[in-house]
């Protein structure tokens, strides 16, 4: 699909149900109760994909919601990031968890290089800079 999605394409599950697919390529029609009972549908098929988030971001932009679109784009980068790494990264962003700016920058690097998540990496780098200016790298009991 080359043209940008517009408000008329929403909801995607209704306007293009054949093209909306889960992580393992199953379409919405394939994800039926019978298929689930046969063991053909697992939790993997019920996850959102980076493509679906990118599509929703396009629709958000068309609705003049650019910040929501950016969140969906950051989310698209996190879809395949393991849960434990997401939770430990979140923990590091909380006040006083990182003792130095470098700790956050190191995580940013992992996002950028290993997870191909440049927007998330930039977001962590921005946080690292602001935390430094606001003195958040302090010990908290």
């Amino acid at each position: 699909m080359t043209r940008k999605l517009t408000l008329a394409d929403y909801p995607l599950a209704e306007t293009r149900s054949a093209e909306v697919k889960g992580t393992r390529g199953k379409s919405l029609d394939d994800i039926s109760l019978d298929a689930l009972l046969n063991g053909d549908v697992t939790m993997e098929d019920l996850r959102i994909t980076p493509k679906a988030l990118a599509d929703q971001a396009e629709i958000s932009r068309a609705a003049n919601r650019p910040t929501l679109a950016l969140n969906f784009e950051r989310a698209a980068e996190l879809v395949n990031v393991p849960q434990d790494f997401i939770m430990s990264s979140y923990e590091l962003l909380r006040p006083g968890r990182a003792k130095t700016k470098q700790q956050i920058l190191d995580v940013a690097k992992i996002f950028r290089n290993q997870h191909k998540a440049p927007a998330i990496a930039a977001f962590f780098e921005e946080a690292a800079e602001i935390y430094e200016r606001r003195g958040l790298y302090t010990h908290r009991f």
């Binding site: 909801p11 109760l33 962003l93």
Partner: protein, 755 residues
């Protein structure tokens, strides 16, 4: 304790001391200590300076002095391309645009992208409460209003959670939210509510409010579909005390979206004050910061309007207006708004009703961000503004104002069926997954229980075992769907699958999304396009009929049916025989009792449920005791009490007559008086007792004998007689008037008492 006979106290104050209202405490306005709703000397003046496309100062603070919140807002919320234009506009003019139906919502949303927190607060603070409500209705993102329920109980009992979730779904809630008394019961609560909410129909979104990492894990297992516990605050110190930063929360927002889970943030007036770091700023200004932050984070919506701080905010002058104003900023910033009306902010039912009204008639994405669908003591979030106890009050408010508050009356028979089904479903899941074997007695006790005090079911310690098993064994929604289908609950299995499938397309991640009739409805495909009467959300005729369908409504058939039940019994007690046309008499010893057209013919008891035969017997006996005679005359030209009485008096040889309607309203009249200038009147038939009618007869006799008796007084305790009886009275009266005809002659009636 103040003595009851204190000579220097007006006792009305003692009465007022006993009102529930006096349990509410009120705080003095004190901006320095953070007790100020709309403005404080410490609030900055709105300003922005932009250089080379970036913000160099905002609301009087230079960029290098920005705290984390300023910094995040400046970087992620403010659109530099719009800021100079928007900030240069006169705040009064923008305020007028908000209430001008001819200014489209999109134009105002565009301006908000360029406004600082101080500017947004400055604009909305110029609106009075009515204008705020109107602007809110115009500016909210989605056209169709919705509502959210709390589903919790004091025992974390999964059977009751399932039954109550199904009940909440049937009432029409678009979202249900649970939390636990004991945090380790989260997984059990999640499974129970997920299963219960799949009974009856599909599409109710569900969240399990718990510790952040746990909540995300429960979501990934497919049990929940949204989250709203991501709190943000309006001062840096409060934020840090809340153990987060704008960046950590924004990262969490992206994490939820990456798992296909709908999410909104939570913020509300009073949280900074409660947490002790208010910087002497007004509640509204701090909340404007929270909301700009949320838009900057890219969350689709907010739970906003005081929330846990609402009770504190309501103690401050203008506090309730402030809650409305912050909701307005939220929707102006184009955020979905779950508009508070959540924590119960008062003991006064009048304040409760007043609080909800603007939202009920103006609509909101989620009118309550937690209507307690369960009883107040079962609400693990603390009692809500409305709880299970007050459900029918809310339903009647919808009917009164023909306003769509998102809910629909639920017939008793349907409710019990759904509860039974839900309990059977969760029991089947527990048995299939070897999580428990609920007994028939446990199940039955839950099905009929109004609240957990009445159940003989799971207790928190047993629930902990179930919850840990779900978590440790890695049970997912797929396992639960399979268990339901295996036990024959195919429809419920399908319903549950449909909710989880929502996350594949992510359509429900867009602003203000909910599911109605199996379809995602959001600000994208159901935008609020209000531009004056006839536009925006309108209650359709079919929806109006749904809203109107409260229980126990009266109609004339119902009144006649109930009268027919008494007809036979009265026939055994009294006979009425027409003995000819009634003419004036000159017998000084006679009192005429004029009865109404339907008296004893179609209507047989007063509104106080006294038999008409007993009424007549008491009056006649009292008259005869004084040595006088009672003549019974039926009038057919009028059913009006005054004219019944006056006509009776004109026929009466003594000049004294009694007029009485079948419903029990009675008058003593004298022939020379003006129609409404009677001697005595019983206007409160519903509280008029037989002894009063007896006294009425005795007094009529006394007047005839030239005495001046003490009028019979029917004591009232101030009951709302009109609301209790007027519908019935109007229907009864129509039965009387239907029997009248102009100029019809009165008839003498011979009354025979048979018992």
């Amino acid at each position: 304790m103040v003595s009851a006979d204190n000579p220097n106290r007006w006792r009305r104050y003692a009465d007022w001391d006993e009102r529930p209202l006096r349990l509410d405490k009120f705080a003095k306005e004190d901006p320095a200590n953070g007790f100020s709703a709309f403005s404080s000397p410490a609030d900055p003046k709105p300003s922005v300076k932009i250089s080379a496309g970036s913000i160099v100062s905002m609301d009087g603070v230079l960029a290098h002095d920005f705290d984390m919140i300023d910094e995040f807002i400046a970087r992620h919320h403010i659109d530099p391309a719009i800021a100079e234009e928007a900030m240069a506009m006169n705040s009064g003019q923008v305020a007028r645009m908000l209430v001008d139906m001819n200014v489209p919502r999109e134009a105002l949303v565009r301006l908000a992208h360029g406004m600082t927190p101080a500017k947004l607060a400055d604009v909305v603070s110029r609106l009075n409460a009515l204008e705020i409500a109107f602007a809110y209705s115009k500016m909210r993102a989605r056209k169709t209003p919705g509502n959210q329920a709390h589903v919790t109980n004091a025992k974390d009992d999964p059977l009751q959670l399932a039954a109550d979730a199904a009940t909440a779904v049937a009432f029409g809630f678009d979202e249900i939210e649970t939390t636990m008394r004991v945090s380790r019961n989260a997984w059990s609560n999640a499974v129970a509510c997920a299963v219960g909410s799949a009974v009856g129909r599909w599409g109710t979104l569900f969240q399990c409010s718990s510790e952040e990492a746990e909540e995300l894990r429960i979501g990934m297992a497919g049990f929940t579909s949204y989250a709203e516990t991501v709190s943000v605050y309006g001062t840096e110190k409060t934020f840090i005390d809340g153990d987060d930063t704008p960046w950590s929360k924004a990262f969490l927002a992206a994490a939820y979206a990456s798992r296909g889970i709908k999410m909104r943030c939570t913020s509300g007036a009073g949280s900074e004050l409660l947490m002790g770091f208010h910087e002497s700023k007004s509640l509204l200004y701090l909340e404007a910061r929270c909301l700009c932050l949320q838009r900057g984070m890219g969350v689709q919506g907010t739970q906003n309007g005081g929330i846990d701080g609402a009770p504190l905010t309501a103690t401050i002058p203008g506090g309730v207006r402030e809650l409305m104003a912050e909701n307005l900023i939220a929707v102006w910033l184009d955020l979905e708004c779950a508009s508070g009306n959540d924590a119960r902010s008062t003991e006064s039912e009048i304040r409760v009703g007043a609080k909800i009204l603007p939202y009920l008639i103006g609509g909101s994405d989620l009118i309550c961000s937690g209507f307690g669908s369960i009883l107040a003591y079962d609400n693990s979030f603390n009692p809500s503004l409305f709880n299970g106890e007050e459900m029918e009050d809310y339903l009647v408010l919808q009917r009164d104002f023909e306003a769509d508050g998102g809910l629909t009356p639920l017939p008793e028979s349907k409710a019990i069926d759904l509860r039974r089904k839900a309990v059977d479903c969760i029991a089947a899941v527990f048995e299939e997954l070897e999580l428990g074997q609920p007994t028939a007695d446990m199940k039955q006790s839950v099905v009929i229980a109004s609240g957990s005090n009445e159940t003989r079911s799971y207790m928190p310690r047993e629930v902990a075992g179930i919850s840990e098993a779900i978590k440790d064994r890695g049970i997912t929604v797929v396992d639960v769907i399979k268990a339901l289908a295996k036990r024959g609950f195919r429809e419920e299995a399908e319903n549950l699958l449909n909710v989880v499938k929502l996350r594949v397309s992510g359509d429900y991640l867009q602003t203000s999304a909910m599911v109605r009739h199996g379809k995602v409805v959001s600000a994208i495909n159901d935008p609020n396009t209000y531009q004056g009467p006839g536009t925006g959300y309108r209650v359709s005729e079919s929806r109006r009929l749904e809203i109107n369908s409260i229980r126990d409504v009266l109609d004339q058939d119902e009144v006649l049916r109930s009268e027919a039940m008494h007809e036979k019994e009265e026939a055994r007690r009294i006979g009425y025989r027409v003995i000819g046309e009634a003419l004036p008499s000159d017998d000084k010893n006679e009192i005429v009792i004029g009865i109404s057209p339907a008296f004893g013919l179609k209507l047989f008891q007063t509104t106080a449920s006294h038999r008409l035969s007993d009424i007549l017997k008491n009056m006649i006996t009292a008259i005869e005791t004084r040595g006088l005679k009672a003549r019974i005359v039926r009038f057919n030209h009028t059913a009006d009490t005054s004219f019944l009485g006056l006509s009776a008096a004109r026929l009466s040889g003594s000049g004294i007559g009694i007029g009485i309607q079948a419903k029990g309203t009675a008058v003593i009249h004298q022939r020379d008086r003006l129609p409404h200038n009677n001697l005595e009147l019983f206007s409160n038939a519903p509280i008029t007792q037989l002894e009063h009618y007896k006294g009425f007869g005795a007094n009529a006799a006394a007047y005839a004998l030239g005495e001046m008796p003490e009028p019979v007084v029917v004591p009232t305790r101030g009951e709302a007689m009109g609301s209790r009886y007027h519908a019935r009275v109007a229907l009864i009266y129509a039965i009387e008037t239907a029997l009248t005809s102009e100029g019809a002659a009165p008839q003498n009636i011979e009354v025979k008492f048979k018992l």
